[in-house]
C-alpha cells in the first residue's frame, strides 16, 4: 500500500453511490486521499443524474438502495449514449455470495467486496481498474 502513489487518482472524476452514509464517506475519504475528484449520491436516481451531468471516469455503486437500486442504475446508464461507456463497479456484501456472479452477468465491469478495508481498498481498486482497458491506460503509477 505504501507503494501506491498518493496522487494516483489526481484529476480523476469518480462517482460513488451508496445509501449508507458511513460506507459512502469511508469510500469517499479513501478515494479523495488518493487525489480523486469524488461526487456522491445516496440512491440510484440521484446517481444517474450526477453521472450524466459529471461524466466520471468510473462509478462505484452499492446494489441495494432505495428509489433506484444498483441494477437499475446500471440499466439506466446503459440506455443513454452519454453514459453507455462509463465503467461501473458494484459494491457487494461479503455475505451475498450470489450477488457477485449476478453482478458480473448483469454487465458491471467488476465488483468490490464490502466492508471496505482502507488498508487494501486501493490495491483492490487498482486491480479491477486494470481489467478495464479504458481505465488501465489512464493509470500513471
Amino acid at each position: 500500500m505504501n507503494k501506491i502513489r498518493k496522487n494516483i487518482l489526481e484529476g480523476w472524476k469518480v462517482v460513488v453511490v451508496d445509501d449508507e452514509a458511513d460506507s459512502l464517506e469511508v469510500a469517499t475519504r479513501i478515494l479523495r486521499f488518493y487525489g480523486a475528484n469524488v461526487s456522491t449520491a445516496s440512491n440510484g436516481r440521484e446517481g444517474v443524474e450526477i453521472i450524466t451531468r459529471t461524466r466520471p471516469r468510473f462509478v462505484i455503486t452499492d446494489l441495494s438502495m432505495p428509489e433506484l437500486d444498483g441494477w437499475g442504475l446500471l440499466y439506466e446508464l446503459r440506455q443513454d449514449t452519454r453514459t453507455i461507456d462509463i465503467p461501473v463497479f458494484a459494491l457487494t456484501a461479503h455475505a451475498m455470495i450470489g450477488d457477485r456472479e449476478r453482478a458480473m452477468a448483469a454487465g458491471f465491469h467488476n465488483y468490490l467486496t464490502k466492508p471496505l478495508s482502507p488498508a487494501t481498498f486501493m490495491e483492490e481498486l487498482l486491480a479491477i481498474m486494470e481489467t478495464v482497458p479504458a481505465l488501465e491506460q489512464l493509470i500513471q503509477y
Binding site: D22, V26, F33, A93, H94, P115, S117, P118
Partner: protein, 636 residues
C-alpha cells in the same frame, strides 16, 4: 356376505356323496356276492336235479329194455307153442296149422304186452315163418342190422335204428331158439314199442319250462326226443359239448351251448347208455335256472336303492346339521369383516360345535372390544399427531424466524461495525490526518476487536443459514491449481508473520479442471489454514492436495499444539474448542470447524482430524471428484 362357492366344494354335497358312495359300494359288493353265491347254488341244485333225473331215466330205460327179452324168453319157454315152433322151423312148409297157431299165440302176446309191438319167427337163413303181424311173413331179414348177431347170441338187443322199410325208428330184441339136441333152430324177434321209450324221455318232472331229456345215437345220428320223434331221418349231425362227451363214453355235468340251430346256454347232464349205444342228455337253460337268482338280484338292487335314498337323506340331514353352524359362523364372520359386531351365533349345546359357537361369540366380543379400544387409540394418536404437527410447524416457524432474525441482526450489526472498521482503517492509514503513536496503538486494538466481532457475526450468519437450510452450494468448473495458489497467497503472509514454514504439495493425479464451489471450499480451507497457523508456534504448516479415481483430498498438517484424544470427538461441534482457555489465548469463535464440517457434508464429502497432543494435527477434507458436469447431482 357369504361368498358363493361351487356346489361340489360344499361340505353338504361332499358328505352326501361320501355316504352314497360308501353305501352304494357296500350294497353293490354284497349284492354281487349274494348273486354269485345264489347262482352257484342254483346251478349246483340244477345239476343235482338233472343228475337225479338222468339216473332215474337210465334205470327206467334199463328196466324197460329188460322186459323185451323177458317176453321173448316167456314165449320161447311156453310149451304150448314151443312144439309147433320147432316143428315148423324144421319143416317150414309142412303144416300151415302150426303157422296159424304160432301167429295167434304171437298176436295174443303182443295184445297183452304193451312192450312188444310185434313178435316174429324167422329161420336161420333169415326167412320169416310166423309173425303177430301177417305182413311180415315170408319176408327175408338177412339185411337187417341185428340178423348176424341174432345168430351168435342167445339174446341180443339191437340198438335203435331207422328201419327204411318201415320208415320209422325201430328197436329189436332177438332170442335164439334151440332144439332138443341143443342146436340152433331159429330166431324169435320182438320189435319193441318205441313209444314207451319216448314216454320215459317225455316225463318232465323236475325239468321246469325249458328242461328236456333226449337220446342221441352214435351211428345213425338219430335224436330221440318226445317232441322230435317224428322228424326222422335227420339231415345233420347233432353236436354239443354234452353230446360229444357222452358219445365218447363219458358221463358228467357241465354248462355249455346246446345243439339247436339257435344255441342257448344250458346246464346239462350227459350219460352214455351202452345198451342203447346212445347218449342220454338232460338239459335245462341257464336262464331258467338263474331266473330265481335274477329275482334275488333285483331284490338286492331294490334294497340297495332304498339304502341309497336313505343314505342321501341321512347325508343331507347330517350335512345340514354340521354345516348350518358353520354357515352361520361364516355369515357372522362376514358381518364382522364389515365392522358389525352385534350379531351373535345361536349355536348351543355341549358338542364341539357348541363349544366353537361359544368361543366364536367370546372372540367376537373381545374383537369388538379391541377394535373399540383401537379406534379410541387411533383418535388419541390422531389428536396427538395433530398437536405434534402444530408444534412442529410452530418449531419450524420459530426456526425460520430465528434464522431471519439472525440474518437481519447480522446485517444490522455489520453495518455499524463496517463503519467502525472503515473509519479506524482510514485513521490508521493516515488518510484522516496525522495521529500520534499512542492513538495508533489504541486504534489498532479497536480494529482487531472490530474484525473479531465481524468474524463472529459472519460465522453466526453462516450457522443460521445452515440451520435454515439456506446455505447454497454452487458447483462450478474451476482450475484447482489457481485456487490453491490463491489460498497460499492469502495465508502465507500469516505464516510469515509467525515465522512458520509454509509448504504446498499438489499430486499429479489432481485434475487440472474439476467442479467445486470455490467460495465455500475457500471458506473451509482458509479456516483450516488459519487454525493451523494460529495453533502452531514453531515448525511448519503443510497444504497437501491429492486425488484418486473417485475423490480428492485436501490435507492441512501442522506441527502445533495438537488436540487431546477426548477433544477429537467434539471438535467439530458448535462453540467447542479444546478448552475454554484456548479461546482466550488464540481467539476465534469456535464455529469455524462446525461450519466447515457442515459445508463439507453439503458438498457430498466430509472432514476428519488426526492429531497427537504436542506434536501437531492433520485435518483432511474429502470430497467427491467431479470432472464432468453430468456427474453433478441435481441436489448440489
Amino acid at each position: 356376505m357369504r361368498q358363493k362357492m361351487p356346489w361340489w366344494r360344499s361340505i353338504r354335497t361332499n358328505l352326501i356323496l361320501f355316504l352314497v358312495v360308501l353305501i352304494a359300494g357296500s350294497v353293490g359288493i354284497v349284492t354281487y356276492q349274494l348273486v354269485q353265491r345264489t347262482e352257484q347254488e342254483l346251478e349246483e341244485q340244477a345239476f343235482d336235479e338233472l343228475q337225479a333225473i338222468s339216473e332215474l331215466k337210465r334205470q327206467q330205460i334199463e328196466n324197460w329194455l329188460q322186459r323185451g327179452p323177458i317176453t321173448l324168453e316167456t314165449v320161447a319157454r311156453n310149451q304150448a307153442v314151443r312144439g309147433p315152433i320147432l316143428d315148423y322151423v324144421s319143416e317150414p312148409t309142412a303144416d300151415t296149422d302150426h303157422q296159424t297157431t304160432i301167429n295167434t299165440f304171437f298176436s295174443d302176446v303182443t295184445a297183452s304186452d304193451p312192450i312188444v309191438e310185434e313178435i316174429s319167427l324167422y329161420t336161420l337163413d333169415g326167412r320169416v315163418l310166423a309173425s303177430s303181424d301177417a305182413v311180415q311173413i315170408n319176408k327175408v331179414v338177412t339185411r337187417q342190422p341185428y340178423f348176424a348177431l341174432s345168430l351168435e347170441n342167445d339174446t341180443y338187443i339191437q340198438p335203435p335204428y331207422f328201419d327204411v322199410g318201415r320208415g320209422e325208428l325201430t328197436l329189436v330184441v332177438t332170442r335164439l331158439l334151440t332144439d332138443e339136441a341143443g342146436n340152433a333152430a331159429g330166431v324169435l324177434t320182438g320189435r319193441l314199442n318205441v313209444d314207451e321209450l319216448a314216454a320215459i324221455m317225455s316225463q318232465r318232472a323236475g325239468l321246469g319250462d325249458t328242461g328236456e331229456t333226449y337220446l342221441v345215437s352214435r351211428e345213425s345220428n338219430y335224436l330221440l326226443t318226445p317232441s322230435r320223434l317224428e322228424n326222422y331221418p335227420l339231415n345233420r349231425a347233432y353236436r354239443s359239448t354234452g353230446i360229444d362227451r357222452a358219445l365218447s363214453g363219458e358221463s358228467g355235468s357241465d354248462s355249455y351251448q346246446n345243439h339247436y340251430d339257435d344255441p342257448e346256454l344250458v346246464l346239462g347232464t350227459y350219460t352214455w347208455l351202452p345198451e342203447l349205444q346212445s347218449a342220454m342228455l338232460a338239459e335245462i337253460t341257464e336262464g331258467e335256472v338263474l331266473a330265481n337268482s335274477r329275482e334275488a338280484t333285483q331284490a338286492a338292487i331294490a334294497t340297495g336303492g332304498g339304502a341309497l335314498i336313505l343314505a342321501s337323506l341321512l347325508g343331507l340331514f347330517l350335512a345340514t346339521l354340521l354345516t348350518r353352524p358353520i354357515l352361520q359362523l361364516t355369515d357372522i364372520a362376514g358381518e364382522m369383516s364389515q365392522g358389525h359386531f352385534d350379531k351373535k351365533t345361536t349355536i348351543t349345546g355341549a358338542s364341539e360345535v357348541g363349544l366353537l359357537g361359544r368361543t366364536f361369540n367370546n372372540m367376537s366380543e373381545r374383537l369388538s372390544q379391541t377394535i373399540n379400544e383401537l379406534d379410541q387409540k387411533v383418535v388419541e394418536i390422531e389428536t396427538a399427531n395433530k398437536e405434534l404437527r402444530i408444534a412442529n410447524a410452530r418449531a419450524r416457524e420459530a426456526t425460520r424466524l430465528k434464522s431471519e432474525f439472525m440474518a437481519t441482526m447480522s446485517h444490522e450489526l455489520r453495518t455499524p461495525l463496517n463503519a467502525i472498521i472503515g473509519f479506524t482503517g482510514i485513521m490508521l492509514q493516515g488518510m484522516g490526518g496525522e495521529i500520534d503513536h499512542d492513538a495508533t496503538h489504541m486504534l489498532t486494538r479497536v480494529e482487531s476487536n472490530s474484525e473479531r466481532l465481524l468474524h463472529l457475526i459472519n460465522d453466526v450468519l453462516d450457522i443460521a443459514k445452515i440451520e435454515a437450510g439456506r446455505l447454497d452450494i454452487v458447483h462450478k468448473e474451476l482450475e484447482i491449481h489457481k485456487l490453491i495458489q490463491q489460498w497460499r497467497d492469502e495465508t502465507s503472509i500469516l505464516a510469515d508473520n509467525k515465522g512458520l514454514e509454509f509448504e504446498m504439495q499438489i499430486a499429479s493425479s489432481v485434475p487440472v479442471r474439476l467442479y467445486a464451489d470455490s467460495e465455500r471450499l475457500t471458506q473451509v480451507v482458509k479456516n483450516l489454514l488459519s487454525n493451523a497457523i494460529k495453533f502452531t508456534d514453531t515448525g511448519k504448516v503443510t497444504l497437501n492436495v491429492d486425488a484418486d479415481e473417485n475423490q480428492w483430498k485436501i490435507q492441512v498438517t501442522d506441527t502445533g499444539i495438537g488436540i487431546p484424544p477426548h477433544a477429537v470427538n467434539y471438535i467439530f461441534e458448535e462453540f467447542r474448542q479444546v478448552d475454554g482457555s484456548s479461546k482466550r489465548i488464540y481467539g476465534g469463535t469456535g464455529l469455524g470447524l462446525s461450519i466447515s464440517r457442515n459445508i463439507c457434508r453439503m458438498m457430498g464429502g466430509n472432514i476428519g482430524v488426526n492429531s497427537r497432543l504436542g506434536e501437531g494435527s492433520t485435518f483432511t477434507v474429502t470430497l467427491p471428484l467431479i470432472t464432468n458436469e453430468k456427474l453433478l447431482e441435481p441436489t448440489m
